[in-house]
Amino acid sequence: MHELSVAHAIVSTVVEALPEDAPRVLEVRVRIGVLSGIVPEALTFAYDVAAHGTRLADAALHIERAPVVVYCPTCEAEMLLAGTNDFHCPACGTPSNDVRDGKDMEIVSLVLDDEPIGATS
């Protein structure tokens, strides 16, 4: 259940990056590599727990999954892998551990509500 650690890291990183007078955050968009071992449903659940009582309490979490991309020395190209358990080039079969994408977890962007708070009243 390392999703809770990851969720806390997401919340604290975003909260620290937000200026005091920042508008309301509607959505936090993250990109999660499939090699990170994160279960999206578990992360969503853990995020709700971690965001509770913070400035992100009402902000939704949007998760984009990043598939594995390896560099194939034979094809001299970056190749997209279909899954996470076969590290051979899908075109020529050359083994490769040179992972170029699909490992990291990134907070990509925030969707902010530009309406000043209370403007509708």
């Binding site: 650690s5 993250v30 999660i32 090699l35 590290f87 051979h88 551990n97 990291d104 907070i107 962007s109």
Partner: protein, 228 residues
């Protein structure tokens, strides 16, 4: 009206930064550090016990940090080898993070050590994304686990620099299918060094010790080796 602002921040940035600074500290001390990961019950502690004893007998100053959810049983058991050992009790947390390592290295003179082994919490999923600054990640698999386990938990086996097969002394008794296990390991990790061991019989222990000692304290197959 809504507005999208870019943030572009690594989720584990804090851990990665601390791991990078730990890696620099190890490099400065010329200290090879390995991070051992496996399921509970694979035999990490038994093998580490054999490894530390072999190191002590060979005049090598090896030390260990051992992570568990509860108890200091492993540290007590490993300390019998005569090596310096510290327990990290995670109080339920399923993996070690870089800050726990730096907290537990306080007061240890890294320059006086020849090898540091970090035994992670027994778990095949959670520790994979958390860089501890190690030079070598060691994933262990016992002959009593399924031969296809690397295919079921590819992340951790993929991230390893060295894969250690344990309990090979009972391989025949449990009808372990060596070729099937190797094929699964090679499918998820074509490049890792594979070492067969038996803690009970002392098989492969000196080979493992030499491999860990010779690992350069920089690089490895951790999260961002190019920035290490």
């Amino acid at each position: 009206m809504t507005r999208v602002v870019e943030l572009k921040k690594g989720v584990l940035e804090k851990n990665d930064l601390l791991a990078r600074s730990l890696r620099a500290t190890y490099t400065e001390a010329g200290l090879p550090v390995s991070n051992w990961v496996s399921s509970p019950g694979t035999g990490k502690t038994a093998l580490l016990e054999a490894l530390l004893t072999e190191a002590v007998n060979g005049g090598i100053c090896a030390a260990a940090l051992v992570g568990d959810c509860a108890t200091d049983n492993d540290a007590q058991r490993l300390a019998r080898s005569g090596a310096p050992v510290r327990q990290i009790v995670t109080e339920g947390m399923c993996h070690l993070e870089a800050d726990m390592i730096s907290e537990h290295l306080v007061d240890w003179d890294l320059n006086s050590l020849d090898l540091l082994v970090i035994e992670n919490v027994g778990n095949l999923v959670c520790p994979s994304g958390f860089d501890l600054g190690e030079s070598t990640r060691v994933a262990l698999l016992s002959v009593t686990e399924g031969e296809d386990k690397p295919l079921k938990y590819p992340q951790i086996f993929h991230s390893a620099d060295v894969i250690v097969l344990t309990k090979v002394d009972i391989a025949d008794a449990v009808e372990w299918r060596r070729e099937e296990a190797y094929a699964a390991l090679r499918q998820v990790n074509p490049v890792a060094r594979i070492i067969e061991t038996s803690a009970r019989r002392g098989h492969g222990v000196s080979d493992l010790l030499a491999t860990l000692m010779s690992s350069t304290p920089v690089g490895g197959n951790t999260l961002t080796p190019q920035e290490a």
